[in-house]
């Protein structure tokens, strides 16, 4: 039986920006990436996770943020943060 999944809005390589505020979104979206822009590196889609959530959450993505962008540090290192779709906008 297939999970009813809404199609993912973004694709790998898309530039996105994390919303600054989103009262109805998943509160577990790290504060340090809010308002920052990054690139989608993985599309996980809608994940059936009955142990943790009531119902289904929107599609999940891994978004790569440069540590330079997030903390202004001179480095090539990066943060790969998993963010649900309702938090993301086209950059």
């Amino acid at each position: 039986m297939a999970v009813e999944a809404s199609p993912s809005r973004f694709r790998v390589g898309d530039r996105v920006v994390v919303k600054r505020e989103n009262p109805s979104g998943n509160p577990r979206t790290p504060h340090y990436v809010r308002g920052k822009s990054g690139v989608i590196t993985l599309v996980h889609g809608v994940i059936n996770n009955p142990v943790d959530h009531r119902g289904l959450y929107p599609p999940l993505y891994t978004v790569e943020f440069s540590l330079r962008v997030v903390f202004g540090r001179e480095t090539k290192d990066s943060l790969w943060v998993d963010v649900h779709e309702e938090w993301l906008e086209v950059a």
């Binding site: 039986m1 999970v3 998943n26 577990r28 979206t29 790290p30 340090y32 996980h44 994940i47 059936n48 996770n49 009955p50 142990v51 943790d52 959530h53 009531r54 119902g55 289904l56 959450y57 999940l60 891994t62 790569e64 540590l67 903390f71 540090r73 480095t75 090539k76 290192d77 990066s78 943060l79 790969w80 943060v81 998993d82 649900h84």
Partner: protein
Amino acid sequence: MHEHVEGVKSDMHDYEAHLRAVEEDLEYYRTKRFEPRIFYLTRKGVISLYDILKAHFFLKSKSEPAKNQEKSQKGTVARIRELEDGLDDYVKGISLVASGSIKGLNMVIEDNRKERGDYDEFFRFAKKEHPGSLEERIEKLEQDIQDYQLLLDAFTYALIQRGLVDEGELKKKREALSVPSVWNGGIIVAKAWVDPTFKAELLEKGREALREIEIHQGRLGKLGVVENTDSVHNVVVCTLCSCYPYDLLGDTPWWYKHDIYKKRIIENPRRTLEEMFGLKISPEMELRVHDSTSDVRYMILPRRPKDTEGMTEKELAQLVTVDSLIGAGEPLNPPRQDAKGHEVQPTPRARGE
């Protein structure tokens, strides 16, 4: 701070999702891991269907009649929990009579895949559906788990009767299985080091690939597996809770849940790895920090240590540390023999060594 409770204590929100997970696993294990094995063994003449039939009647004659009247009084949550426990027992039971535990049977994973129809539609086992209302679905699944377990019990007993499985050993293994072992991590990593097909599946499918190696995939979200290479080092954190594939890899080290680790690894990962863990990442390498949610729980596939070419999977598994699965450490170095020929214990290895 930690809102969702890990493991079985959490509240059940979505009955249908739980049922779907049970149904999917149950049919996978029956059609891919169990029944093909019976057919394989009967074809080879190792065991016969009549052995299984006789074993069933023998077991039945010894057991007490089943009590059915309790079931209807139980609530939905309790019944679904029982289904999940029943599934766990079934999966563990199957792993106890895996091909590796049957004397004189050398069945490789390739035989398994062939036997169960991975390569040929004709041999594929049909999966069963359990349609209807929630109540009906639960009832059908209860009946099936009960039936499937009967066949598994009979099959297991038939193997014992034939002397293909040692009853004492089986009991010992069963007891060992009830303790979740951090060495699942070792088993998974060692397998990925030696088997490229498994590694590719693991990286692509996560938990689903584990069914191949008789590890119950658990139900805490998806498993993300990230490979450390010579040019990229990965490390995992969960800054807003402490998500981790606990069901698979056991408990995390204490520091994983600590605010200091969460804050520092994000802000300055290189320095944190060096100062907190003595792990120096060379300047040429890229460093990626993965901040997870409960939906995808990550483990790192560490690099295989040097000078381990001749080692068996079992020996390799011993080199895998809890820290190395998070990316805060490297696997141990292989044990070396000292000048007198005594084995020297494995030592932690620094990055770039």
